[in-house]
Symmetry: D2
């Protein structure tokens, strides 16, 4: 397990315990909080063109950094609470995606695997 992710999980556990917030951190609630933060991240890009999204001005970039951090922190907190090894899960999914999206079938084509 990535030691920096483990460190964040420990910092978040301590942060919650110090504030007696454990009571709020059920997986269900953490999924909702994650969802709320996702909305804030999406909002940054909603009126931008594709091209503008590739060249964010400094203020928007700083805002994006915060929202990426918020999403990551709730995600690793949820993984911690549900005993999910987040890195192992990624490698497993990467492998599965290789099978679902063979290069010859989906080169240059963004169709979902069940539409290929």
């Amino acid at each position: 397990m990535c030691s920096e992710i483990k460190q964040i999980q420990q910092q978040l556990a301590k942060f919650a315990a110090e504030r007696d917030w454990e009571q709020f951190h059920s997986p269900k609630n953490l999924a909702m909080a994650l969802s709320g933060e996702m909305g804030e991240l999406t909002e940054i890009f909603q009126w931008l063109t594709t091209e503008q999204s590739k060249h964010l001005p400094a203020a928007k970039k700083a805002h994006l950094e915060e929202e990426i951090a918020d999403v990551l922190m709730y995600l690793v907190r949820l993984a911690d609470k549900c005993d999910v090894d987040i890195m192992a899960a990624c490698q497993k999914k990467l492998y599965k995606n290789e099978q679902k999206y063979p290069i010859d079938k989906c080169f240059g084509n963004a169709k979902k695997y069940n539409e290929l």
Copy 2:
């Protein structure tokens, strides 16, 4: 930067390049894809009680691992494309949260900082 996250970013960059998918991976599109995956993660918990969410049966847990992986992968891909150091952003936000949520003001209280 966490070497396991850097590794995932490289694997995702290779996966996209091999399939000529770079054209689809603007930050705007990646934010939307992240949003789509968030919906799938939320769905796992929507009808569960708080208590049930703490004790997921094996099938739901396996499904959760996949969705956590999907969200993380799009998140680190977006960070990569926008040149965001995801770990530094987390440490910065953790520090900011310490200021926004002083223990004495929010012990046992889930109010948002602007409602304290």
Copy 3:
């Protein structure tokens, strides 16, 4: 088509035209804006228990009314832009749901139709 929904669509079209905002209201952008507002709605409930969510204090209820309005407005604006008859779509989906979820198969059971 519901005349009150048609009226909202006309008010929103006028609001956007007056501000030269048509340029931002592609279906893609409207879907993202809808997503952003969804996050704000979810946030209202994230730390509440199921029981608390049934008895919202006045301030939270007022906030919920605003977020429900925001989501509805972007939804009917998206339907308008994509030429979707929103009421006809609902009746069609209600009928489809009756087929997907026969009473005898899913009484008291929240499983998704493909898990029944």
Copy 4:
């Protein structure tokens, strides 16, 4: 209140009661379900360009109709459960938006009101 929306609310209440699903329909759960459906709607547009989103092929349009219906149904169900007059809420918010976004200040400019 729009009689077609009232009709949908009654159909949904009957659908839930017939299946003994009332137990799952707390506002908290409905907000999560709404969130899940939002993800499915977003997914339709994620890899499309802005231009492509304006000219959806028949299959994608049919899919969009279903997802718009799903989002609307959970939204009006949530409004019903929380005793929110959805149409009155929209008119109130439209008025508030007129104040937040005066034409002379935001003509051709998509900035959020607190950035104007």
